[in-house]
């Protein structure tokens, strides 16, 4: 499988603060990867290194290029939305399309217009007159109209309502993604992107604490509602986190055989957010 991103010992310090700590990972072609972490965990630092807009230590190759030295060339095949508020407010919507059409060889205006026409975005209005939702829709229309191999979305739906967020991700999945493209997403609304992800990377304090595909995530992490009296046996299997619900103890295990756990109580498949919390707590 071709890797779009290959990182080895990727590090970045801001003074004494370690934003990325020897992160090594690969991102293959044709995947949708969620980069999940708390605020300040190093997600944006990692993405900025991949995009060539921030310096770093270590080895990093994106589409075979060194992003720190070849950002402009890289941007022929990489798109990103870093924040909803970055489109130029002084431009009209049509100016934005004109500009991208002039500078990006892989931009299709027809494709952009087909996305814009599905929305209520007025072409003759300035970006500053658009609502936050419209601005994001416009930005998404622009990036989806670029025939890129890697799309990086850093909190793309921050501050938008749930209906919009749902439409955003379904448009991405239905009208953009295919096996020839890779999407990397960071978001705090983990539940909303869970169903579209193929892989996840968890980051805590600049370190990668989990890097796996969604299929094995389900089999790796199991929650057990421990039957009364069996706490001792459950403890012996080294749960990565412990909690309580409805008066019953709940333990989360990583890479423990499901049949073994079934003998100690009821087992449950965990959602991504629960796995993240359990993993991060377990990494402490």
């Amino acid at each position: 499988m071709t890797n779009v991103v290959e990182a080895r010992n990727l590090s970045k310090n801001f003074g004494d603060f370690v934003a990325l700590d020897s992160a090594s990972f690969d991102i293959p072609l044709g995947r949708i990867v969620g980069v999940i972490g708390a605020n300040g965990a190093g997600k944006t630092t990692m993405l900025n290194a991949i995009l060539g807009i921030a310096s770093y230590d270590g080895e990093l190759s994106v589409m075979g290029l060194n992003p720190a030295k070849e950002r402009a060339k890289l941007m022929n095949d990489v798109c990103f939305i870093s924040d909803v508020a970055t489109l130029p407010k002084f431009m009209k919507v049509s100016d934005v399309l004109d500009y991208v059409e002039s500078v990006h060889p892989k931009f299709s205006r027809e494709r952009a217009m087909s996305f814009v026409n599905k929305t209520s975005i007025p072409l003759d209005k300035k970006v500053k007159a658009l609502s936050k939702g419209m601005t994001t829709q416009l930005h998404l229309a622009v990036v989806m109209a670029i025939d890129a191999k890697l799309l990086v979305l850093d909190e793309p739906t921050l501050g938008l309502d749930i209906i919009f967020r749902k439409n955003f991700y379904s448009a991405l999945l239905e009208e953009y993604f295919d096996e020839e493209r890779t999407i990397v997403i960071t978001t705090h609304q983990v539940e909303e992107i869970e169903h579209i992800l193929t892989d996840v990377i968890f980051i805590k304090d600049g370190r990668i604490v989990l890097d796996t595909d969604m299929d094995s995530l389900g089999s790796q992490f199991i929650e057990l509602m421990v039957d009364p009296g069996k706490e001792g046996e459950a403890d012996a299997l080294n749960p990565i986190s412990k909690g309580a619900a409805f008066g019953q103890k709940t333990y989360v295990y990583k890479s423990v055989d499901r049949e073994t756990l079934k003998a100690l109580g009821e087992t449950r498949r965990l959602g991504l957010a629960d796995v993240f919390v359990a993993t991060v707590e377990g990494a402490e």
Binding site: I53, A72, F80, T86, L87, S102, V103
Partner: protein, 316 residues
Amino acid sequence: MLKNNSFIALVKREVLENQNSFIKVPAIVLGIVILLVIAFVMGLTQFDFFHDSNMEGVSDFGDMVALASSEATKEGVPFNFAITAGYWGISYLPLMILPFIVFFSLLGSLYEERRDRTIMFWKSMPISDWQEVLAKIVASAVVAPMCVLAVIIVGQLIAAVILSLTSLVQGGPFFVMWPLWTMFISWIHVFIVYMVYIAWILPLLSWLVLASAYAPRMPFMYGVLPPVLVAVVQGVFFDSTAFLEWMGERMSGIGIINDMDVNVNLDKAGSVEGILDFSILGNLIGNVLMTGGFWFGLVVAGGFLYGAVELRKRAI
């Protein structure tokens, strides 16, 4: 491969962003001056120049144009030069605010995109930081003067239309107010001189771009304080005003004509005839290219721009 028009698109973007200062402000200033002049020649002001002038047979603008035109013909004075000079007099104010437009647009050039975070959008495009920085200095130092000149040209033509019609209505001559060829040559001349001046002060302009790329806030302070500090330190500790003189030489343009072999032409240089004399212009350009300081300035400018590009590469 980038499309050929990408650099033009970058410059166009800069003009779009700065259209208020590049076009609207000079247009408004020029418009006000023209309105005042028109009010004056139509006798709408309290100050009645034509009646108070005590010139025989002159009671309005039309009379004055007729008289001046015939006097000029009698004395062999080229009246087209005088009229052209008059139009440039009207255009004086927008021309004077041009340095401020260039100064502030350069100071904001690499600062504003970080402040409003559009830099993240620009960086998502396959455009190198070199192209971006060059586009910004070209827009501020070359395109802004072109925009202001375009505004001035339109303003002069509007003034010509109104003044010639006023003269005609008041019984004066019409066509003498239209020295089109002289006006055209003066536009070209002013533009070329301005471009030579821009090349001459490129190190100062590039410094502003560097300050703009570096300033975490208040780019004005970062642009102005360091040169002031250098001048003060040199003055206080080394009892020297060399840096200050160098700055003055650059900004006033005096350095360009310092050793210029102008002879007879120097007297003409400041006059309207001088504007039309291309030998002075040739002399000026030749002199600039022969000056070691000019080439040194270009090297310094290159260093500042390189610094600005490196800063932009790291900017988020």
